[in-house]
């Protein structure tokens, strides 16, 4: 039984009217007939430019936003008729959602422990465990409002795992973290998947992170899924690679590249050419024939970020 199955999910926000009845904002479809599944132990990335419908989708998956149509089923059960039962098995953390600032870290987690129906022993054990796991045990008695953004994010992650969820929805979980801590969090996510078979739905603007963590990526654009593949396969859809050369005659080289109509950038003596990866050998041969020598060469293959930039440009 798949942890999550979404079928034909659509969200159209109704028209917003002023007090006098005139239309302030016309109806707007933020998510349009989206269907996907998350397998057990799978880490599924949800990518897309701003306004693509990622957050709207996550809100519907948490029942804090009512879909216009479509179905959401967790573990084979309809979400709308089994909400409470299902939500005990869903964890959620977002860099954009807060916790009451005057409560200490422990008090906040204590409250969430109760909200998930945990008894006193379960609350104490799990709060201690996750505070240690996320490296914030020394902040247990500090007010949440006094924490840095990175510390708050780690507390939010501790909250997300408190109920021992089977599926976790993470909205930009590492947005405010230092690189070393972000790496620890990614490792934690991979460990939970490996050891407990936890599934994840993951949104992030860090493409390197998505490539490292996600098994599969859904790309949303204007509320529709436009791609569903592995990060590597998506990157491969971008045929342009970046060729960097340290050349002896920069002027001659740029003239040559311009004649071919290829986009390029110059950084000091370094020439960066954007070129189809299948044409790299031919370019190098042409430069050599023209008497241009190079002392350093590097080729950066297309990455997920290149794909993201490509679709973001298309969206505009």
């Amino acid at each position: 039984m798949n942890p999550l199955k979404v079928t034909n999910l659509t969200k159209t926000f109704p028209a917003q009217r002023t007090f006098w009845g005139t239309v302030k904002n016309p109806p707007f479809t933020a998510v349009d007939n989206v269907s996907f599944e998350v397998q057990e132990g799978e880490i599924l990335g949800l990518l897309g430019p701003n306004g693509a419908g990622k957050t709207t989708t996550i809100q519907m998956l948490l029942s804090t936003l009512k879909p216009t149509s479509g179905e959401i089923a967790y573990f084979g059960k309809n979400f709308f008729t089994n909400r409470s039962e299902i939500l005990t098995q869903i964890g959620f953390a977002s860099a954009y959602v807060g916790l009451p600032k005057r409560l200490t870290v422990r008090e906040n987690l204590e409250v969430y422990g109760r909200l998930y129906g945990l008894n006193r022993e379960q609350r104490n054990t799990r709060i201690k465990k996750y505070l240690e796991e996320f490296g914030v045990d020394h902040l247990a008695n500090r007010e949440t409002g006094a924490l840095s953004a990175g510390e708050t994010t780690r507390v939010m992650l501790a909250k997300a795992f408190l109920s021992y969820p089977k599926i976790v929805l993470l909205d930009e979980p590492t947005a405010a973290l230092d690189p070393d801590i972000a790496q620890d969090i990614r490792q934690f996510i991979l460990d939970r998947r490996e050891k407990d078979g936890v599934s994840f739905l993951f949104t992030s603007h860090n493409m390197g992170e998505v490539t490292e963590v996600c098994d599969r990526v859904l790309v949303l654009q204007h509320g529709k899924i436009i791609a569903d593949d592995t990060p590597e396969a998506l990157a491969a859809k971008v045929s342009m690679a970046h060729l960097e050369l340290l050349v002896n005659d920069l002027e001659k080289a740029t003239t040559r590249i311009s004649k071919r109509g290829l986009p390029y950038k110059v950084h000091g003596h370094l020439l960066e050419i954007e070129v189809n990866e299948h044409a790299i050998a031919q370019i190098l041969q042409e430069l050599t024939h023209a008497g241009i020598t190079y002392t350093q060469i590097s080729i950066r293959k297309p990455q997920l970020e290149d794909y993201f930039v490509m679709i973001a440009k298309q969206a505009k």
Partner: protein, 266 residues
């Protein structure tokens, strides 16, 4: 919260978390605590001295007793309103309703919050009233229990109306929600009998439970059947208004799910 869950019961542990959340905040926020006791004490002193000047000791005790009961309700109403407002200002409303918490559990949590706040304010106001004017509102006897209980029911109803306004209009109305209770003070019969009001306002005031409750506080020596009549009327109206407040809040909350709870925090 959803159609399929209508028959489900309230998990008291979950509900208690809602009350606990506010009590934690209250225990840490000295200004909040100060305000909760300052305004009742201020009102007791102000109205106590004014009535002592105009009417003498027996009037003072009647007025001060009504003020004490009034604040036991008002401060509990503010606690419910602040609790919901706190969720919005901390941006945590999505977090909260992304747990197993149902709307009925949230309402039950508010009811759990109203009880200790009302009782603590009532007890401390009794102390202030006794120390300053030698008047103990508790001395009206066992009738205190149904009176205080019905005022708690009204505190919850008013709190839910505040939450309804916040759900419908967001943080724009965060100052307005504290006016609701005070607006009722004019026609609630707490500070003076409603007989002093214009007849049209009197008739409107009789449709609310508060004048019946404060009539008992003002004339505790009234014949038993008059007291019983007032209590019955106040109980019926209080429960009717609570039911109405719950229905309106639920309808507004469900409507807000069409736009998303996250929008409330903007």
């Amino acid at each position: 919260m959803k159609a399929g869950e209508r028959m489900k019961t309230v998990n008291l542990r979950t509900s208690f978390a809602i009350a606990q959340r506010y009590l934690y905040t209250l225990s840490r926020d000295r200004w909040l605590l100060f305000e909760m006791f300052y305004w009742p004490a201020f009102d007791i002193a102000l109205y106590g001295y004014v009535s002592a000047w105009i009417g003498g000791p027996s009037t003072t005790c009647t007025v001060v007793s009504a003020v004490v009961f009034w604040h036991a309700m008002l401060q509990a109403n503010f606690a419910v309103a602040r609790n919901f407002l706190g969720e919005l200002t901390s941006g945590g409303i999505t977090n909260l309703f992304a747990t197993t918490l149902s709307l009925r559990e949230w309402i039950a949590g508010c009811a759990m919050l109203v009880v200790p706040i009302s009782m603590v304010v009532f007890c401390l106001c009794n102390v202030v009233s006794y120390l300053v004017f030698g008047c103990l509102p508790l001395a009206i006897g066992l009738i205190t229990i149904p009176l205080l209980t019905l005022l708690m029911v009204n505190a919850l109803s008013l709190g839910l109306i505040s939450a309804t306004l916040l759900t419908q209009f967001g943080l724009r109305v965060q100052a307005t929600i504290f006016i609701i209770g005070w607006a009722l003070a004019l026609a609630g019969g707490a500070y003076y009998p409603i007989g002093l009001l214009p007849s049209i306002v009197q008739n409107a005031a009789r449709l609310t439970p508060l004048p019946y409750l404060f009539a008992i506080i003002r004339t505790p020596d009234a014949v038993t059947h008059t007291v019983l009549q007032n209590i019955t009327m106040a109980a019926a109206l209080s429960l009717a208004y609570l039911a109405l407040a719950i229905l309106i809040f639920r309808a507004t909350f469900r409507r807000s799910l069409r736009y998303g709870l996250a929008r409330l925090t903007f």
